[in-house]
């Protein structure tokens, strides 16, 4: 039998299929409710009727949800269900292109709608961009920036040195912690039994959590905790470095060859000896390379973190910017660019040399 007729899909009522049908319906409901809400709140109220202060009640999203669910249930039995397409519930011919199918066209429409809504939400406006007063302001600030005030070069350099050292200490403190955590977060070493695997899962969870909080946020927390200055910035960078270095280290461990591990195990070595001789020699150089790269990133981040009170050249930049002293800001921008360029160059040279 040929599969010319692509409709309807497999109707085998198994448990696994049930789960897929429910997720497909959930996806469809979400997309249709979203479409209904965007069309009503943005296209209709804002762009067509041009209401300045549209009313918002929770009934609106709830109605949209109901409408979306209704449409999804009806369209579920046609070829216009994106949810079914995502869950692989259609019986299409493998060789056929799916880009012209009804569900794909609906997908394009959702993306187009989001684009329109996005333009509106981010208040994109050519008029503002090219207005006379705006251009005048831009001219003023660029003139000042290109005429940096070299009188504060000494202070700027001191602040820059502070930033570099702070980034260095943050990296140095992060290394031993990340070194240990890296082993716990490496799947190939930790999947031998259930206890090890739960340690692995826990470590991964903690690392992902601390990585998902931006160092900027940590800097704010630590500046309340230990006071504004380089120490709080250092702590914020250290925490973030631990998380990301552990991840990089563990990925490196996961990609090493099994051979030496197998050979060391075969000699009757203790698991710690297996790691020391079978794993460590394979990872030291990549580790070094990652660590230097991390220092480079930390220097760059340290300037941003300075903006929220993390000390160093960032804090200085924030102060002059607050006073609208654009000539001084111009100098600081030059110093920051020079540091970033130098660190970038130095770290890539060092990493090349140790390969």
């Amino acid at each position: 039998m040929s599969t010319e007729n692509t409709l309807p899909a497999k109707h085998t009522p198994s448990l696994g299929n049930m789960k897929k049908v429910i997720s497909a319906l959930a996806i469809d409901t979400f997309l249709w409710s979203y479409t209904a809400l965007v069309i009503y709140k943005i296209i209709w109220e804002k762009l067509i009727k041009n209401v300045r202060y549209p009313e918002f009640t929770w009934n609106q999203p709830l109605t949209a949800l109901a409408v979306g669910f209704g449409i999804s249930v009806v369209l579920f039995f046609t070829t216009a269900s994106l949810g079914r397409a995502f869950q692989g519930l259609y019986d299409f011919d493998e060789n056929e292109t799916k880009l012209g199918k009804p569900f794909a066209i609906w997908g394009y429409f959702v993306i187009f709608l989001t684009f329109i809504a996005g333009l509106h939400m981010s208040q994109v406006s050519m008029r503002e961009f090219l207005s006379d007063s705006g251009l005048e302001g831009a001219r003023r600030i660029f003139t000042a920036l290109f005429n940096p005030n070299w009188n504060i070069i000494e202070d700027a350099l001191f602040a820059a040195v502070e930033t570099i050292y702070m980034a260095f200490i943050a990296t140095a403190f992060a290394i031993p912690v990340a070194f240990i955590m890296g082993f716990f977060a490496a799947r190939n070493l930790m999947s031998s039994n259930r206890l090890m695997f739960s340690i692995y899962t826990l470590t991964r969870f903690v690392l992902n959590m601390s990585r998902s909080i931006e160092p900027l946020v940590w800097a704010i927390i630590f500046s309340v905790w230990v006071g504004i200055g380089p120490f709080s910035g250092m702590l914020a960078l250290m925490l973030h470095s631990v998380a990301s270095l552990s991840k990089l280290y563990s990925e490196q461990i996961e990609s090493i060859g099994d051979g030496p591990i197998e050979a060391m195990t075969a000699t009757g070595a203790h698991p710690i000896q297996v790691i020391w001789y079978g794993v460590v020699p394979q990872i030291v150089l990549p580790y070094l390379s990652y660590t230097i790269y991390r220092w480079d990133i930390n220097v760059r981040m340290a300037t941003v973190i300075g903006l929220v009170g993390g000390g160093g050249i960032g804090t200085m930049l924030m102060q002059y910017q607050g006073l609208a002293k654009w000539n001084e800001v111009g100098l600081l921008v030059i110093v920051i660019a020079a540091i970033v360029w130098f660190m970038d160059w130095a770290s890539s040279k060092i990493r090349e040399a140790i390969k």
Binding site: A263, A266, T267, Q273, P281
Partner: protein, 252 residues
């Protein structure tokens, strides 16, 4: 000295690598295991020192049941079984000397081995074995800078440091050229004859089998289908082991 009884290994993905293999290994013999790739040769060897855990069956090694061992007892048993590999599996970036000394890890303390404190006796022994495998003068060369044949000889020296009763060789010459293959096989023969170490070796080339083996077993699809003398493998057996269309390749 080794009795293997009804050994079965099923991998987690469902592949049945060994479907009940039984045989004995006598002290001092040079036993060669032949068979196609995927016939279970490597799995068999890795089950013998528990790099892989067999699913069922028994492995009796000098009166000790390997499958029942755990922790320190298992490590001690492993240390009496040397192993060499197709890809040598030396520790990269370390010298020949350090690599050979890793053969003593089972009897060196964890801390001592991390700091590289090996006993003088072991160091002297390592130097002797490096000499035996013909690499004297290369002690402080990085092992990964050596040629394939030299690396395999370092691996043999490392295995000898364990004072092994048995040496498992998993396709030791499969990634070497013919001339080097013979040289490595000669060293294995020397280990077998002069040091009295029992050798169990996986091989692909029948010409090598005929020259070095004292006894042969053949695996096919996880089962043992032949056991006997190397010279008794005739055309018919060859085709049974390697398939109808197989043509024998010889290396000289």
């Amino acid at each position: 000295m080794i009795q293997i009884e009804n050994l079965v290994k099923t991998y987690p993905n469902g592949t049945q690598a060994l479907k009940g293999v039984s045989f004995d290994v006598k002290k001092g013999e040079f036993l060669v295991v032949i068979g196609l790739s995927g016939s279970g040769k490597s799995t068999l060897l890795r089950c013998m020192n528990r790099l892989h855990d067999p699913s069922s069956g028994k492995i009796n090694f000098e009166g000790e049941e390997m499958t029942a061992l755990k922790g320190k007892a298992l490590r001690m048993a492993r240390s009496r079984i040397g192993m060499i590999f197709q890809h040598f599996n030396l520790v990269p970036r370390k010298t020949v000397m350090t690599n050979v000394l890793t053969g003593t890890l089972a009897r060196t303390g964890v801390l001592a081995s991390i700091f590289g404190w090996y006993s003088e006796e072991d160091k002297k022994k390592a130097a002797d074995y490096i000499k035996i495998v013909g690499l004297s003068g290369k002690e402080n060369v990085r092992a990964d800078n050596l040629s394939g044949g030299q690396q395999q000889r370092v691996a043999i020296a490392r295995a000898l440091m364990q004072n092994p009763k048995v040496l498992l060789a998993d396709e030791p010459v499969a990634s070497l050229d013919p001339a080097t293959s013979h040289s490595v096989m000669q060293y294995l023969k020397k280990v077998n004859e002069e040091l009295g170490v029992t050798v169990i070796c996986n091989l692909h080339f029948l010409s090598l089998v005929r020259q070095y083996a004292s006894r042969v077993i053949a695996l096919k699809g996880g089962k043992m289908i032949y056991e006997g003398q190397p010279l008794d493998i005739d055309e018919q057996w060859f085709q049974t082991i390697y398939g109808e269309d197989a043509v024998e390749v010889t290396i000289n």
